[in-house]
Symmetry: C2
Subunit: 359 residues, 2 copies
């Protein structure tokens, strides 16, 4: 309670300087979410040591492996990421009073590695050229190294969770990875044709994003020794946060800010929520999207911009942010059932920052 | 002892009809290894029920998964494989008196799935077009589905081992997969340049073949409740059998029988033992191999045949089979330290069949 109060009183300075919170804080500040920026600044001080430990562990991943696949994997890990999944593990454990000790850190790092493994494989599947403001690992080291680099990270993540001795966590992480692969495969099967199908979208996003957020919070809560009802509640927070995160990602793809390849999803024929909404509202747009998807990325940029403008004119981008906010509100309602204090306030800030981000 | 005797007395009929032993038996018979064929025939009857169970389990893998990645994975699993790794698990367990029950079957299937996962990823890396006499999964379902199909199989394999409750086996399988990925990555790094380096060859083959054979026999022995010294001995059998298996594979690539893409290794710039030997013996050949490797597969078939003839003229193919036989002999010496009986005789037959095979 006192920790929570001190957070609320924290000065609204810029939360710059830390690789984890800095990006979230910066985008919040830039886009007028001053309150979020202020709370993130306070968090930064509170979590500084934990976040430094996290980055050190991530920098050490694969340190003994000099092969091309490890170099591909380390290339991705070295790029500045938001580290939001490990942050979820850390905060859920702290909610149960457990510090960022060896086991919690192992699980937090494992989350980031599983996420990174899917990015390495995705970039090969989507032929992605840029990520986090840098060339993708597959561009630098080749597709094969990127595939094997992803394999390395999956194995490394599972080994870390195994060393914690928490057998149920290892079992559930295997299930999570299986669900993520199924989500990617489902997305793959729909590639090249555009069908505005809400259920298909939700099924893909469950696999590719929500299950890992859910697991991060459940695993952290379990390690933190929270009661079963709190583990369930945090799992629901993770599910809603993951959905919100993906919906905002969908919008960012069409807003085309720096650091992301503009309209990559659109050009790859991926089903995103704003495209589903726009197609429902303007059937002629659906036909144009199908033509885009069938062209398999081979679309003039001006034509892509024109289609994005038409999508925006339907209100689909604003409404997708609104949908993300509804998931965010659901996450906050579940958080409200948990004990007050700095960890809960931090998770609330993570939810708000995820919604406010523009990159 | 009596089982062993009955095996020795078995009639020398053709061991046809079973998907596991039939291929090993056929190649042995075709190539004059009548004794091996005879012993395999006897084994077939003894192991018939186990092998049927194995094939049924393999046919059920991913039965619930209809996505494109599972279809790619099942495409490979449905092709006739030698199933020699699951056979190793089964026989090592039987050596300890344990039947092919649920846990042993789970580990046996896991071995085949890990092997299959690496094939799915390898075919994407090597752009392989044919395997087991059929188009590769990546040709039928695409590279992306093949990558994700491999991911599915790795997860499935680990889940199966986890369900046995044998935590040390799950841990060691993770290590094995990590070593396999490292072996593939090492091979990848050397691609496009040909350097006849014996140490590099041995390191790659340890990872890509020997560690999984070793694990199969150690895991089976552990499940069979064999004493630690026998587990160690069987691990050494696996190591030697894996090396022998790979050396014979290397020769088969250059012999170009049906079912394999002739000279695929040579064209991909892969370091194989006969190529190392030939390059050591004829430095002008090393230069031609480097040119091949640099051409990245773009070599006229007639030129490839001419190089293979030159390699054969150095005696490298015969000497590689001889080297495989030395590993086979080492495997048999280790087997000789284990209790006599049908399981040991069966493992001896597997070693001999691996050496005798021509496809």
């Amino acid at each position: 309670m006192s920790e929570h109060s001190s957070l609320a009183r924290a000065p609204a300075t810029e939360p710059a300087g830390h690789p984890v919170l800095e990006p979230l804080g910066r985008v919040s500040r830039l886009h007028g979410a001053a309150d979020v920026a202020s709370r993130l600044s306070a968090l930064r001080d509170w979590l500084a040591a934990d976040l430094t430990d996290l980055e050190r562990d991530l920098a050490d991943v694969g340190a003994g492996g000099r092969d091309l696949a490890w170099r591909a994997a380390r290339h991705l890990l070295a790029a500045p990421g938001k580290r939001v999944r490990p942050l979820c593990v850390m905060l859920a454990a702290r909610l149960g009073g457990r510090p960022f000790d060896g086991a919690v850190r192992a699980v937090a790092v494992a989350c980031e590695l599983v996420h990174s493994a899917t990015l390495l494989h995705d970039d090969v599947i989507d032929l992605g050229d840029a990520r986090r403001g840098a060339p993708t690992a597959r561009v630098v080291y080749g597709n094969a190294a990127s595939v094997l680099g992803g394999d390395h990270l999956l194995v490394d993540a599972l080994q870390r969770v195994r060393t914690t001795g928490a057998a149920p966590l290892l079992a559930s992480l295997l299930d999570v990875i299986g669900a993520m692969v199924a989500g990617e495969a489902l997305q793959l099967a729909r590639r090249g044709r555009f069908e505005p199908d809400r259920d298909a979208y939700l099924e893909v996003v469950q696999g590719k994003t929500a299950v890992l957020f859910r697991w991060a919070l459940e695993a952290g809560a379990t390690l933190g020794g929270l009661p079963a009802s709190s583990v369930v509640a945090l799992g629901e927070v993770g599910d809603a946060l993951g959905m919100a995160f993906q919906l905002v990602d969908d919008v960012i793809d069409l807003e085309g800010d720096a650091g992301k390849t503009t309209c990559a999803d659109l050009r790859e024929g991926k089903l995103t929520w704003p495209l589903v909404l726009a197609a429902e509202r303007a059937p002629t747009l659906a036909a144009r999207m199908r033509a885009f998807a069938a062209a398999d990325g081979d679309v003039p940029p001006a034509e892509a911009r024109a289609l994005v403008d038409a999508v925006r004119a339907t209100g689909a981008l604003d409404d997708t942010r609104a949908e993300a906010s509804r998931y965010g509100a659901r996450a906050r309602r579940r958080l409200a059932t948990l004990p007050e204090g700095a960890p809960r306030a931090a998770l609330e800030a993570v939810v708000d920052a995820a919604l406010a981000r523009r990159t």
